[in-house]
């Protein structure tokens, strides 16, 4: 235990030092992130409060519906935690940078293992727990929970999180034991992404909104019966929902029985985790540390001089294709796009003005999907290459040429889904030819602008140290890119909203006015594309 506390003290000191020795820029970033977090917290609380009040006041079905929504929410967070705990141990346990150091110190193995499990638990669950806070507080306020009620809620949610995280950690240890290779992390990640994309698409295509409206049921009793059935009764998420129900109806027995269920499950999983899985982890770590490298049969290679354009483009494509976590994200993009198109097809489009309005708003939707694609594929590039910038800067190739070649590689990744989405969605909506051409032009523009801005902002805000690509996407720079892109989408669509409105209402617009609105549109696009380029170039020359 002393050893565990010793390592824990080290972890805490490392964490605190990141604030203590932060530079001025880092402090500004932290403040900004804190502010964003506060706004998120406040808005989540307000929205949650409104939803809980609305649902609670529904006649007849109010309380049943509340428990059902709670159960679904807890089930989702339980699954999210399980999946995130499946991936986190690969970086915090198996590939931890300090593992060699810790094993070389006179520390008990069980303390090292306990520390690594503890860190994995924290890293995988903190964000989901924080997201749950405003919802739980809103729920407690609406339902007038007392202090004891809040304590019970906190304990039950913590126990549920411990169960799902521990199960995820145990599964990843087991997978590493059964398939002992460093590539297992990528395999798990790829399978998880495909699984999530499929589940998400299937969920959407099953039209869950039908289940929430009684008219889709033959009898009102069928509906009440459906609402009163438990959601995944054997999972701890249902037990937590039951604890909430117990607090709502003041039934102590329900609360105590479900709390005991949670406590017993946690104890059982912890015993397994700290006996059998401790031994398995030991074997896995030492196997992975001594994993051999396969060498191919030596064949005298021939190296040829090729054109600069060719080698740079080839290098970019090879690097992208050999990073499975990167290209597999195409699956997510496809799933998102399919669901998006499905949503569009569900909108009733009987009138011409509705069609044009939906088509106009559709532009915003497509641009938002494009932002997500740019964030995943383009924004992350400078961070992925950050440590090799010494090489790029020492090349006898101009920076403009080099970045232009990169742009040529990444533009099609953005352009292709953008155009497909635009064409298919407009076909689904059935817009007129002029709106069709106009939409394609706007999407083309945004593809160019978002790609340039994404790469430049990636250069301006690189994540220098990271364990996996999602850490780059969720960094301060990633957040800045998303916020700025949202502003860009709103501003550029606003600039052409007036001509669109006049077209919908069959009102005349002079050529001069039209020219003015499109000039504003071009200026917004020009500024968002080239202002980051200017600063990124400056930073690239001065730093790295």
């Amino acid at each position: 235990m002393i050893d565990f506390l010793f390592i824990l003290n080290l972890n805490i000191r490392i964490f605190l030092n990141s604030f203590k020795f932060a530079t001025k820029t880092e402090r500004i970033r932290e403040f900004f992130l804190g502010f964003i977090g506060f706004v998120f917290f406040l808005s989540s609380y307000i929205i949650s409060y409104q939803i809980v009040v609305y649902i609670s006041n529904l006649p007849v079905i109010g309380s049943l519906f509340t428990v059902r929504i709670l159960a679904l929410g807890f089930l989702s967070s339980f699954l999210m935690l399980f999946f995130s705990s499946l991936i986190i141990p690969f970086s915090t346990m198996f590939e931890a940078e300090d593992l060699n150091l810790l094993f070389s110190l006179p520390l008990r193995y069980s303390s090292i293992y306990l520390n690594k499990v503890f860190l994995s638990l924290i890293r995988s669950s903190w964000m989901i727990l924080v997201i749950l806070v405003p919802f739980v507080v809103a729920f407690g306020v609406v339902k007038n929970f007392d202090i004891l009620g809040y304590i019970v809620i906190i304990i039950s949610i913590l126990l549920k999180s411990l169960i799902s995280s521990s199960l995820g950690i145990a599964t990843s240890i087991l997978l590493s034991y059964l398939f002992p290779s460093k590539k297992i992390k990528n395999v798990v990640l790829v399978l998880l992404i495909i699984f999530s994309a499929v589940v998400y698409s299937l969920f959407r295509f099953s039209q869950p909104e039908k289940l929430l409206s009684p008219q889709n049921f033959h009898e009102i009793f069928d509906y009440l019966d459906f609402l009163s059935k438990p959601v995944a009764k054997v999972l701890p998420s249902w037990w937590v929902a039951e604890i909430f129900r117990g607090l709502m109806v003041n039934d102590r027995n329900i609360v105590i029985i479900n709390l005991i269920k949670l406590l017993l499950t946690v104890s059982f999983i912890f015993v397994i985790l700290f006996t059998i899985f401790k031994k398995i982890f030991y074997k896995c770590v030492f196997f992975l540390m001594s994993e051999g490298k396969k060498s191919k049969l030596y064949k005298a290679p021939i190296i040829n001089l090729k054109s600069t354009y060719f080698v740079v483009i080839l290098k970019e494509i090879k690097t992208l294709l050999r990073e499975p976590v990167q290209w597999i994200q195409f699956v997510i993009v496809v799933a998102l796009s399919l669901v998006y198109l499905f949503n569009i097809s569900r909108i009733p489009l009987e009138f011409k003005y509705v069609k044009i309005t939906v088509s106009f708003l559709n532009l915003g939707g497509i641009m938002f999907i494009l932002t997500a694609i740019v964030l995943r594929f383009v924004f992350v590039q400078p961070s992925l290459e950050y440590k090799t910038y010494w090489l790029i800067k020492s090349y006898p190739v101009s920076m403009e040429k080099l970045f232009f070649l990169k742009f040529l590689v990444y533009l099609p990744i953005v352009l292709l889904p953008g155009l497909v989405l635009c064409i298919v969605s407009n076909l689904v909506i059935g817009v007129e030819r002029i709106i069709f051409v106009f939409s394609i032009a706007v999407v083309l523009f945004s593809c160019f602008v978002l790609t340039i801005a994404g790469f430049s902002l990636g250069l301006l805000f690189p994540k220098k140290e990271f364990k996996d690509i999602p850490q780059i996407e969720t960094s301060f720079g990633g957040l800045m890119f998303v916020i700025l892109s949202l502003c860009y989408i709103i501003l550029s669509l606003s600039s052409i909203a007036e001509p669109a409105r006049r077209y919908i209402l069959n009102l005349k617009i002079s050529h001069l006015d039209l020219l003015f609105y499109f000039f504003i549109f071009f200026m917004i696009n020009f500024i968002y594309a080239f202002a980051p380029v200017y600063y990124a170039k400056k930073k690239f020359i001065e730093e790295y």
């Binding site: 001089l305 090799t388 090489l391």
Partner: protein
């Protein structure tokens, strides 16, 4: 400026935040010369090499290569330079062969026939050359980067701690080949902590400390000016640091 200078640094200053890492650096390097930058950690050796190679820009002062001013944007002069950094980060997803092909194509310099095979066998990289760089050890990455420089035979070679991670056979080959490049008329700047390496290879030595060049010259010139009669580089270095 002196038209014969291959490389000339005049009054170079560099700051990182509030910390002044280079203070008035001046030296010249000629062809047929191995110029060694000797100094403790954080003395400014790596920053000096980064400024010469066009990776960083000096805050004040100038760097001339072949009489032309060097800067981050001067891509033409970069063609004459081969730079080995102290931390060899390279594209991990490429194979060794793909990386070398990439480098020679970027620099547009086809290696002399047979040289590729020669370096491969000298550095014992035959088995690994088709494997992704992410499977290489630090020493193997160092060898691959040295190969990428040796294959091109640039006129100015900048090497930052070149022996880190190298095995004894590779160290031996490295020393011989550096001396060969020197006799071929190349200018070489080598940054190191290793006094033995400096003693074996250096034509001239500059002792750099806390961002300043304390003393610069041949070993004989240094021992004479510091009154070190033993002639050992270790004694010269210690004395220079003590006087500072």
């Amino acid at each position: 400026m002196n038209s014969k200078s291959f490389l000339k640094l005049t009054g170079v200053y560099k700051k990182f935040g509030n910390k002044e890492v280079l203070k008035n650096i001046n030296f010249e390097v000629q062809p047929y010369e191995i110029f060694v930058l000797l100094g403790p950690n954080g003395a400014g050796k790596t920053t000096t090499l980064k400024i010469i190679s066009g990776i960083l820009e000096a805050d004040k002062g100038e760097v001339y290569i072949l009489g032309k001013k060097m800067s981050v944007l001067n891509t033409e002069l970069k063609r004459y330079i081969g730079y080995l950094p102290d931390e060899p980060y390279i594209y991990s997803k490429l194979t060794g062969k793909e990386f070398l092909e990439f480098i020679i194509s970027i620099y547009k310099k086809q290696p002399i026939n047979g040289m590729f095979e020669f370096f491969l066998s000298q550095f014992e990289l035959e088995d690994a050359i088709h494997n992704p760089i992410e499977t290489y050890s630090k020493g193997m990455k160092q060898k691959l980067l040295l190969m990428s420089i040796f294959l091109r035979e640039p006129d100015l070679i900048l090497l930052d701690e070149p022996l880190v991670g190298l095995d004894p056979k590779s160290i031996n080959f490295f020393k011989k080949h550096i001396l060969k490049l020197k006799s071929d008329g190349k200018a070489i700047i080598l940054s190191t902590h290793l006094l033995e390496l400096a003693e074996q290879l250096a034509t001239r030595i500059a002792i750099i400390y806390n961002g300043r060049i304390l003393i610069c010259g041949t070993k004989e010139e240094l021992s004479k000016s510091l009154d070190v009669y033993s002639g050992s580089l270790e004694d010269i270095y210690i004395k220079a640091i003590q006087i500072k």
